[in-house]
Symmetry: C2
Subunit: 240 residues, 2 copies
Amino acid sequence: MNCILLPAENFSADAAKIDSLSQVSHVTKVLGAKVGDRLKIGQIGGNLGTAVIESITANSIQLGNVQLNTAPPAKLDLTVILALPRPKVLRRLIMDMTALGVRDIILINSYRTQKSYWQSPMLERIDEFVLEGLQQSIDTIVPSITLQKRFKPFVEDSLASLISNRAIVAHPYSQQSFSEFLQLQPSRELPNLVCIGAEGGWIDYEIELLSAQGCTPVHIGSRILRTEAAVNAILGQWLL
Amino acid sequence: MNCILLPAENFSADAAKIDSLSQVSHVTKVLGAKVGDRLKIGQIGGNLGTAVIESITANSIQLGNVQLNTAPPAKLDLTVILALPRPKVLRRLIMDMTALGVRDIILINSYRTQKSYWQSPMLERIDEFVLEGLQQSIDTIVPSITLQKRFKPFVEDSLASLISNRAIVAHPYSQQSFSEFLQLQPSRELPNLVCIGAEGGWIDYEIELLSAQGCTPVHIGSRILRTEAAVNAILGQWLL
């Protein structure tokens, strides 16, 4: 946590209260903060700033002198459509995409997504992973996250309307590299929509359907990366 | 595992033997392979290819018709100097840097590296994490990995000789972005050496020492990423 984010209802006038046990534990144990210390905080959906610790109990920390004067960093103009991954890696993927500043995240079914993944209790915890990502990257704005359990109707009926600029689908077996794709764009302009498969990638039928709706298949070299590594390696382009 | 890598001593004529329990379990349980099936294999330090399963026991798999005709992918002309991270994330970092094709990895002490990290049993398991990265990315060539427990002597005496082209050090508080740095290079040529801090990054003194030896501090935006995410986001540039 590089800042402590609190919901709007925890603020009143220039005071605020930390009442989540993981945040209290982080402040007292990891940061080792004491009464009188100033903390980096933010209001979820609002500004970033600081506050001073007024009192600490086992379950809550009272803050005073709250100053929220800094706007959060801009989001990326980017929608990521990700094949729902194994529950084990969902936490880090949501954290990382949030931390990178992706504005819209769509978790979609794919041929290689096991049915059981949609029943995972991890899906109930997405808000928690988003909060971790925001606190990591010092941002306050929650990305939109939607679940699409039906691939074909979503791609055929809704995908094209999400593409304002250009769109790509990451596919190790495509002809064109992401670099070649960028060189063909005016001023190397980045796409506003990226589709990324989970382990095993997309099947040919899915690539055909995505292509038909305007997503250009691109590869990032012959090396097969873990989904997390691939997401960060691809989205790293938006940080440059 | 996208291929099964075996050491040279497991090969004889056109036969080979899988005797690591994790590989045997992967072949039989994850891949569900049976006698007569063809597997993607490789020889550590050698070529990639295929072989046919001749027999399976609980502890080993005998392979025949071994064909090793494909050269491994090229390594990146890149040295990564990484501040030794928390043991918990070391495995994934070594896997990912290996999978991305980094040729030389140097794990170095830094002000924010806790002393206990150097005593972690995870350091004994680096070869295992390298093998995972190679089997992930379908490569056979082990990167060189060295540990440097003394920051200052290494940076002052050895660093400059490793820089054949240009070098950067990732630092969120630098003036120049990585993108601006690249635009100043002929044909956007990438550096051959990258220094990346672990959680908390480098302290000013370290940045000064690295700069004095030829590493340009660059940032990748204001967002603070997890070490793993930052490594993949930065090294993703080499895949384009």
